[in-house]
Each structure stands twice: as C-alpha cells, then as structure tokens.
Symmetry: C2
Amino acid sequence: MTQKLTILDIAKLAGVGKSTVSRVLTNDPKVKPETRSKVEQVIRESGYVPSKSAQAMRGGSAKVVGIVLSRLDSPSENKAVRGILEVIYQAGYDAVIMESQFSAEKTNEHLAVLQKRNVDGVIVFGFTGCDLAPIEALGQKAVVIAIDTDQVSSVGYDNHGMISLAMNHLLQQGKRQISYVGVGSEDKTTGLMRLNAYLASCEAAGLVPCYRTGQLSHESAYQLTEQVVTPDTEAIVCASDTLAMGVAKRLQELGRTDIQVSGVGATDLLSFIFPNTFSIDPGYYQAGHASATLLIRQLAGEQAITHLTQRASL
Amino acid sequence: MTQKLTILDIAKLAGVGKSTVSRVLTNDPKVKPETRSKVEQVIRESGYVPSKSAQAMRGGSAKVVGIVLSRLDSPSENKAVRGILEVIYQAGYDAVIMESQFSAEKTNEHLAVLQKRNVDGVIVFGFTGCDLAPIEALGQKAVVIAIDTDQVSSVGYDNHGMISLAMNHLLQQGKRQISYVGVGSEDKTTGLMRLNAYLASCEAAGLVPCYRTGQLSHESAYQLTEQVVTPDTEAIVCASDTLAMGVAKRLQELGRTDIQVSGVGATDLLSFIFPNTFSIDPGYYQAGHASATLLIRQLAGEQAITHLTQRASL
DNA sequence: CTGTTAGCGCATTCAC
DNA sequence: GTGAATGCGCTAACAG
C-alpha cells in the first residue's frame, strides 16, 4: 500500500527537483535520458502514482471523456461503446458513462454533470427527440452518434444503405416478392429512413411494396407478419434484428420457412436459430471507434468538425 | 456559458470571504442563515459551479466510483450495472466503467488507473482466475460481485439456488427424467457450482443424473443436446440461457418439443422463441443495486464488510 | 538541461 | 460567525 507519495517524495528519492519529475511525467523532451530513466526507475520502484485530480486541476484536462448512451443494454450501443473504449483507453483517457434512457431531460442533466467534472469531451448517442442545443454548445468537444447536426461532429449510420444492401442481396438471388416490417415513422432513423429505403428499392426494381410498421419489439413484428405474407412472398426485410426475430418466429409457425428474412444488427443469434435468415451489420463497433477517434483528434486540435457515415456490410 | 468562475469571484460578488462561500458549499452549519442565503443566491444567479477537480484534490473525494466489469456486452453484467448506476447517481456519485475482458492483468491495470483517479470506491465483477489481491487491498473501498472473498464485501449469486429452483419447479410438475447441459468446471460458478447443484438435486430426488458440459455458447449446447436426450427425457436444465437457446434449437430440429428446457438469465427472447421453456432470474439487477448500496454505505463509514447472496427467482 | 518560484480552486485551520 | 492564511499535488513559467 505505497500510498500518499507525492511528486516531491519522488524528487527527493531520485535526488532531483520536483519539476524534473513532472517533466518526466509529461514526457517533456528536455530531460537528459539518464536523468529520465533514473526518475522512471524510482517511480516504478516506489509505486508512485501521480494524482489525476491534481493534474486535472492544474492542467485543466482530466483526461476523461463522457459517454451518454440511451440504453446500456442496447446491443447496438454496446458494440459502439466497446469501439469507443478501445480508442480512448489507448489515448490515455477514461470514460464516465451515463444512461439517458431516451430522455432529453436526463441527457441534459448528464451533460451538465459531465461539464462540472471538467471532462475533456463528450460522445452522445442521439435519439429521436434528443435536445441538440446543449450538445452543440460544446462545439469541438462533442461528437454525436446516429443523429444529424451541423454544429457538432457526427457519425451516422447508413440507414438507407443497410436496407438497400439487404434488398439488393435478395434481388440478386432472384427474389421479386419482398415484403417489409419496420417501425413507425415517429422514429426518424430506424423508422422513417429505413422504410423509405425499402420503398426506394422497390421503385428502382419495379416491385410492388408490401409493408407494415409497428413497435420495435419481437411481439410487434410477430403480429405484423401475417399482414405482409402472401402465398407468393419470397422474402421479408426487417428494420432490425429484433423485428426479424419476431417475423422469423411467426413464419416458422406458419410453416413458411421458404421465406427468407433479413434483419439489421449482426446478431449471431438470429441466423443461429433461424437458418433462412441473414443480418446486415450497420458497423456499430466501427462507428464507436470512428467517433472516439474523431473526438480525440478534435481535442488535440488537429481536426475540425466532421461528419461521417458508417458503411453497412453484410 | 458563464465559465471560469472561482470561489473567490463569488466571495467578492456576495461581499463575503471565500471561506464563507466554501462553508456554504460544504453545508457547514456555522453560517448565519442570512449570509448563507445571500451567498446561495449569488451562486445561483452567477451559474457558478464548484470545480470537482479542485474539490477532489483538496478533500480527497472525487465522488466517483469505478466499475470494472468483464464484458460490456454481457447481458447479465449489463443488468447489474444498471442497478449500480441507479444507486450511485442518486448518491451523487458518477461512474467510470472499464472492461476487464476476463483478464486479471487488465483488471489490475484498470484498478491502478482508478486509484490514480482518486475514485472513492470500486465495484468489480469477478471471474474465475481473477486476481483478488489488489481488490482486497482496497478494503472498505471495494465490493466484488459474483466471487468469494473474506477481505472485501461481496455480493454473490446463488448458483446453487438457481438450479435447485429450476429442478424443483420441474419436479413439482412430475418430471422425473431431467438432464443437464452446462459448462466445464474450470469455471467455478457457472460451471462447477451449477453442475453440483444439479447433481445434488438429482440425489435428493432419487434421479439418475444425465449431463454434459462444454463451452458457454449456443453451438456447444446445440451439439451436446443429443447426448443427453433419451426417448424418456422430459426436461433439460441448462446452466444459462445461452445454452438453453442452443438446446431448445436442437430439440426443435429433433422434433422433441415435448421436452421442457430451462435456462438462467431471465432473457425474454428464450421463451418468446421457444414456448416450452422458462428461465430463472438470478437477480442481476438487484445484485447491482445491492452492491452499490453496500459500497456507498461503506464509504460513509456506516457499515463494515458484508457478504450477501442474491436470491434467484423464477 | 534542471532547480526554484508561483499559483490553480478549494477546504481547513486559525485568529478576530 | 467570519475573514485571513496555509497547503493539497501538480504544472508552468522563470532563472541558473
């Protein structure tokens, strides 16, 4: 329990001045290699740990980024968060994570707390109804995921591309009777954009659309399934894996395992349980990775506000 | 954005000394009510926010707890984390979350970082092979989940109870031919303890055990299924929902939907997809809640090291 | 290159 | 009760 060691103790122990120790800590090039290694050795042997709190207060940077996600147990955000963590750890940052639960109010509270904590930057997972103003006020210090803004850097998912990808894949297999199950267009991204992508694909391919939208749940999709199934139906594209799960389940009951089902989310469980299915990977992990990289660069002043769109893949 | 306001600015603005402002901030009773409200008003109007960094450095407490979990995308830990967050937010703490990925080394690194950050306390999700020493060194400042220690408070899952619960439920329905699919006993908890619980239940009920263990994956369970199925088999108890999913899937293919399957984890997907199944809830959320409550109390010095076992439920 | 000197923003002694 | 002084652990000018 080598505690309470201060930079001064190390200085004495190494027979140098406190600032020299500080220089070693901050990787200041203006230190004679011998002195440096000497100090480093003492640090190592004494188990000295510089106090982040003090550093934060002095330098203004706490080496912390805040992450505001909507639901901790959302598989998609989960994957993205892992991507974020990977990047920021490597950059020497830590993360404080908060859950907005799709509440604009909670999001704002969290942002306030994060600022009070002197976090260097923030990554926010957007959602329909999210209040962008407080985020935009952060400027360079923020990156949002899954939602559009001009004021602040963003990493978006290619909602249109995901569905097009699924549609094209099916069309290439010669399917012509392709239905769609999605969620209501109150939800701009998962709902509206993906539905529009479906409609656009139908139009481009000269297909007659057949679709229903409901809630983002297995049950909802399960119940909607029959309404989009005809004797000729060859495939059903779904706005998400959750929906695909419900649809596939119903199809199984209906004995229509001939109908291929596609989802979005790259859930391995889907194709494990239902053979005649596939899932589009929106690139959650990569999106997290990209957003963190963006943020780190911005914090270093190396990069201005940027907008990326994560490519989806099969 | 009223920035860079220090305690001194407030002091001037309120026409008092900085220490008085500090006293107001720390809720020191020795302040004349008038002065207090005067200061509070100035604080409110100026939008002053005391610097957490400075407070942390001075007082030693940063109002932060570290959470070291093994996998961010583990549904179980996810639920527990939500329970933790709920409690600590309410207590005015924030959380910095880190992933150990079942690596003792990474865990230790993370713990070091957390200490350097001056976190008030730590909650660690244990795993087989986890190095307890650094955690135990934290004493009152740590709580571990899902693993045993004497040195430090812990919240464990009732691995035995989960399986007993499932077994009793099945026995009450008159099932006598109950097989088991689990994971290898290298894993002390999910592996060994749950298997032992199965064996104990069998012995108590006078049943002949029939079981196999493998990896903690759908595929593994899927492949093992046939080895524990006989024409007489009435039910299969699984060590986890993941396994149950694989087993149920295989049973469906084998046309043995008469066999009831049970898992552990309270995954709603399981019973949605496979009707003849049920899942035991180990109480992840409650465990998180309990561990956080424990930690907060310990940090306040109100409570000594305690060991809890989370009850499982159907 | 390295030691010395100042504070950073706040909480906590002390005197008044 | 309240203000002035002191120092937390560290970094950033300044000197040498």
